[in-house]
């Protein structure tokens, strides 16, 4: 368990890691990684029951990254919480790396399932949660979804399944940053009113500012206490959060910083003089 101030410090490091690793790779997805930093750091830092030094410990809660392109934030969070050395982050996307361009459970212990084709993770979280119910185990299944990703039909199938089987050990997290590759969600294929949609699918809906560590902590706690139905935390976020020129710009979805931009980005994250 970390205190709030410490979590905020880790968030800074994770943001910097995302910028550095995608810069080193020359490709990758910073935008949707930066918007999910607090969601991931709070989850791995304070919420999940897991053992970073023993990634396949059977008693662990499971995290499923449905929006696989955001793996930089997951890799950085894993490294910062002790799964592997921070130095390894710059191997992202390089030949022979464990840090594949989209996460592979075949290469990196701690990744539960490979992902990268959007829309599939919630079903997997449900299946795992169902197995926990059958075995009367206390494990929980967390699943991070993109808002654009919600346009995939399979997500809505899985929403029905989780509610139908009353999987209150499922916690979905929507990174509601309002952008997808082609632009604004509401212009490409609108989702609003998103909360009402989840609610009408019989989910317990929790809303919060996805960059406010205290709110994110409280949202996970509310999810943990929810009984009889699955819960979703709709986190209002900013794509590219923390780096002024990246914020709310769809173009930074899949483009890394160059050296110049990286210098500025790191200054913004840590403040000048570092």
């Amino acid at each position: 368990m970390e205190n709030v101030e410490r979590l905020k410090e880790i968030c800074k490091d994770v943001r910097a890691d995302i910028v550095r690793m995608t810069n080193a790779a020359g490709s990758g997805h910073p935008g949707g990684s930066l918007s999910a930093v607090e969601a991931m750091v709070v989850l791995y830092g304070n919420v999940m029951n897991h053992r970073p030094s023993e990634p396949s410990w059977p008693g662990r809660d499971r995290f499923f990254l449905s929006k696989g392109h955001a793996c930089p934030v997951v890799y950085a969070t894993m490294a910062r919480t002790g799964y592997f050395p921070v130095d390894e982050l710059v191997t992202l996307r390089k030949l022979g790396t464990r840090l594949q361009g989209h996460p592979s459970c075949m290469t990196l212990p701690g990744i539960e399932v490979s992902s990268g084709s959007l829309g599939q993770g919630l079903s997997v979280a449900n299946g795992f949660a169902l197995s926990a119910k059958i075995d009367r185990k206390p494990y929980r299944a967390f699943c991070l979804l993109g808002d654009g990703e919600l346009q995939e039909g399979q997500i809505w199938e899985a929403m029905m399944t989780a509610a139908h089987y009353k999987l209150d050990n499922v916690c979905a997290i929507v990174d509601y940053n309002g952008l997808q590759i082609d632009g604004e969600i509401e212009k490409v294929m609108g989702l609003a009113p998103l909360e009402e949609k989840w609610r009408s699918f019989n989910w317990h809906v929790i809303e919060c500012d996805g960059h406010d560590v205290e709110q994110v902590l409280a949202a996970y706690e509310e999810s943990r206490q929810t009984q009889g139905k699955p819960s979703v935390i709709i986190m209002k976020t900013v794509k590219g959060k923390g780096i002024s020129f990246m914020e709310n710009v769809a173009g930074w979805h899949g483009k890394p910083c160059n050296q110049e931009e990286m210098k500025q980005a790191l200054e913004e994250i840590y403040g000048k003089g570092i």
């Binding site: 499971r62 592979s104 459970c105 075949m106 539960e112 399932v113 490979s114 992902s115 990268g116 084709s117 829309g119 599939q120 993770g121 919630l122 079903s123 997997v124 979280a125 449900n126 299946g127 795992f128 949660a129 169902l130 197995s131 926990a132 059958i134 075995d135 299944a141 039909g153 399979q154 199938e157 899985a158 029905m160 399944t161 139908h164 089987y165």
Partner: protein
Amino acid sequence: MSMKMLPTRDGYGHGLIELGAMNPNVIVLDADLAKSTRSDWFQAKYPDRFFDIGIAEQDMIGTAAGLALGGKIPFATTYAVFVAGRAWDQVRTTVCYSKLNVKIAGAHGGISAGGDGATHQSLEDIAVMRVLPNMTVIIPCDANEAKKATIAVSKIDGPCYLRFAREATPVFTEESDPFEIGKAIVLRPGKDVTIIAAGPLVYEALLAHDQLAAEGIAARVINMHTIKPLDEATVLKAARDTGAIVTIDEAQMAGGLGSAVAEFLVSHFPIPVERIGINDTFLECGLPEELAVKYQLKAKDLASAAKKAVARKVVCRSDG
């Protein structure tokens, strides 16, 4: 003497029931086709381990993946055409790439969904499942073998695809016959030509054997129940011993069993191979038997292909 007739999906149903008793980790999922697929037989006995996911094949495969991660052995069941088609990306990326212990049962495979027409005839499933790394692909030849295959896949770790038929077909193997995944069964020992078949068409191969025997041609008959991994040793031996091969697919020929055999032989022991099957076309509605005749999947078609293969063998020899 009348032959007992049963659909291979019945063997699946019986296999599931036996697995339910044998292994508490076996879970069965279906997508609103539990009666047709026979998964309802398991549901009736083990309601706590049966989950209907509704008409949502993609979600069913994902849910199966999660169950496998939780240590369960899920059998995701629906029509072959829907699971192999609609949910292919889920099977590829979530199940096969992650090498998860998910068993997929495709019912009403091949032309056995005859009357439903082309939308329901699963002719591409073998090709699209076979091409996936980590996947095992099995077509049981009769209800007895279907039961054995269902039980056998629960004992190996990793993704497996099983194809079953809707129609009753001859039950010509014994319950006591051995069954091992990846180990083909030589049913007739001939020396002149080899017929390689899978699924209910193995029975047609046996009939073709008899027709050829009457003409003085001794055909070897191989039941290649496991399409992948292909039993290469048995294919190679047949190629060496008989010098000519015939394959038959109740599926598109492109990518099917015949492709698997030809791919192997072309680089290890090139000899004449005659392939029959569905040749790059959608079919139409009709009784499965009528379709089999129209699209030339009968014993006589195998026999004439065998004679062609034998003739080519002579030509090859005189050339050499």
